[in-house]
């Protein structure tokens, strides 16, 4: 409960900081919505030309985009440091967080908010709403799928970037990992062979933030539910273990920094 209160306080502070530059914040949101919409034109053109591809239609793509965009946006908006954790570790900027009696990983991740993430969230929810798959129980499944997606996005990148404790700079590695997991999550898994599908469900968990939740929203199944929840829990636990064991090796840079 205490941790939740702390998390809400961080989010409130981030929102207040964003509101200091209200026009920039709103511009980022609007532009991200437009950006996603323009990108989606590719799928509109594609399905207009080729119709149904192994059971996938433009409506299925709207649902897939809705889930992946919302999960990505929520990760970026609520846990904005999940893409820069490696740099924070490598630059010795964990000192500030270590000196406070709060959960370190959670504190680092939620200390920053990426404003454009809100644009992704709004676009994602709207995309789901107009996909033709919207029902109220479907909305609950959508929420569950997105929550699992957030856990997996954050955990996966935390695992990759925690390698900074051992190998130093992981900027290039995390950029490749990020672009791989995000790009694969936006394509139907029906396009890939069995080996690739297995990889996308395990070491590069893109299917767990895109295709499996989309399948789950379309129709309830215990298999999909198990895959999503087990995936989220396993990745979350694994991320915490790796981060903690890395933290033991952390050496301060003794740099004077101000965290604002």
């Amino acid at each position: 409960m205490k941790t939740l209160k702390f998390l809400f306080a961080l989010w409130k502070a981030n929102l207040q900081a964003a509101m200091e530059f209200r026009a920039a914040f709103i511009t980022q949101i609007i532009f991200m919505i437009v950006n996603n919409g323009v990108y989606f034109i590719f799928w509109v053109l594609y399905f207009d030309k080729f119709g149904n591809v192994r059971g996938w239609t433009v409506n299925d793509m709207m649902l897939l985009f809705g889930i992946a965009a919302t999960a990505w946006g929520a990760s970026a908006y609520f846990f904005g440091n999940f893409t820069t954790l490696g740099e924070i570790i490598a630059n010795g900027r964990l000192d500030y967080y270590l000196s406070l009696p709060k959960p370190i990983l959670l504190h680092v991740l939620a200390s920053k908010s990426i404003g454009s993430g809100m644009g992704d969230i709004l676009y994602g929810v709207a995309s789901f709403a107009i996909s033709g798959y919207f029902t109220w129980d479907g909305f609950l499944r959508f929420f569950l799928g997105v929550t699992a997606g957030v856990c997996i996005f954050i955990s996966f990148l935390t695992i990759i970037q925690s390698l900074s404790f051992w190998i130093g700079n992981t900027v290039a590695l995390s950029q490749v990992a990020l672009s791989a997991v995000l790009t694969f999550s936006l394509y139907p898994s029906a396009l890939f062979n069995t080996t690739t599908k297995f990889i996308l469900l395990t070491i590069l968990p893109a299917a767990l933030v895109g295709n499996v939740p989309a399948e789950f929203v379309r129709s309830f199944s215990w298999t999909s539910l198990l895959q999503i929840t087990a995936g989220a829990v396993v990745f979350l636990v694994f991320a915490m273990i790796i981060f903690r064991s890395g933290l033991r090796r952390y050496e301060s840079g003794s740099a004077i920094q101000v965290e604002v």
Binding site: D48, F50, A172, T183
Partner: protein, 261 residues
């Protein structure tokens, strides 16, 4: 001229100073090509044909390899200019004995050169495995020639976006929209040949196809008629956008305020 060559050289050295990081970035093109291979093989299999609008699966994958090379190698100069304007570093650069735009042109070129070379090497390797033998030497030659104009067009657009930092706080959003316009109207994700006719007509009067579609299409289907036509249109757009950039820079200079030192 010598000083600009030195800037290019400096950026090339900067890029290869961290080989691990440099190689890591080149892996991205392999990932994208792998996904596109899945998408287009499935599409052709379902369509039950070897050729769609004159393009085979192999043509599609080589086309996408060239398009991705251009996208991943284009200059990211807007971020540099925008940061310099916001943190005041622009005053330091303006006091140096070189032209602001040519400085960034050289800086961007040095930054792009090695990335383009690495993406071509990695992209060619991956696509060769996925799609078979590469296009003819004539295709390579036409692609290389039109890539020069494509790069300059990207530079002009990126610099124009960077200069908007003189009037607005947030410029990254403009880059995102521009990137997606190139993805769609430039024919990066889908060659223009596969567009409906009405959209093809719109795209062809805009600069975007000459930044992406022209080199990639000539790469896989080299035709002299199309080459001269594309090249002429491309350089008309270079003249238009370079002119717009010079004008935008002159008016930005007038609104520049430097406080302190």
């Amino acid at each position: 001229m010598k000083k600009y060559l030195a800037i290019i050289q400096m950026q090339v050295i900067n890029n290869i100073a961290y080989p691990g990081d440099f190689l890591g970035r080149s892996i991205s093109i392999g990932i994208f090509l792998f996904i596109f291979a899945g998408l287009w093989r499935t599409t052709f299999a379902i369509a039950g044909t070897d050729v769609i609008n004159g393009l085979t699966v192999s043509n599609m994958l080589w086309y996408l390899m060239m398009a991705e090379t251009i996208e991943l190698g284009r200059p990211r100069i807007n971020r540099v200019i925008s940061e310099q304007v916001k943190n005041g570093e622009v005053a330091y650069i303006l006091s140096k004995p070189y032209n602001f735009l040519l400085y960034h042109f050289s800086f961007g070129l040095g930054d792009s050169l090695m990335r383009i070379v690495m993406n071509i090497i990695v992209g060619t390797g991956v696509t060769w495995i996925l799609a078979g033998t590469p296009p003819s030497p004539l295709g390579w030659a036409m692609a290389m020639v039109t890539m020069v104009g494509a790069w300059i067009l990207h530079f002009c657009m990126m610099a124009l976006i960077g200069l908007t930092a003189f009037v607005v706080e947030e410029t990254n959003s403009f880059e995102l929209i521009y990137q997606k316009a190139v993805f769609i109207l430039g024919g990066m994700l889908l060659p223009l040949d596969l567009f409906p006719q009405w959209l093809q007509s719109i795209a062809r009067v805009l600069p975007f196809p000459y930044m992406m579609y022209a080199p990639a299409r000539l790469f896989v289907k080299p035709e002299w008629g199309l080459f001269w036509q594309m090249l002429a249109n491309q350089w008309i757009w270079v003249a238009v956008l370079a002119g717009a950039l010079v004008l935008a820079y002159r008016s930005s200079e007038k609104v520049l305020t430097v406080n302190g030192g």
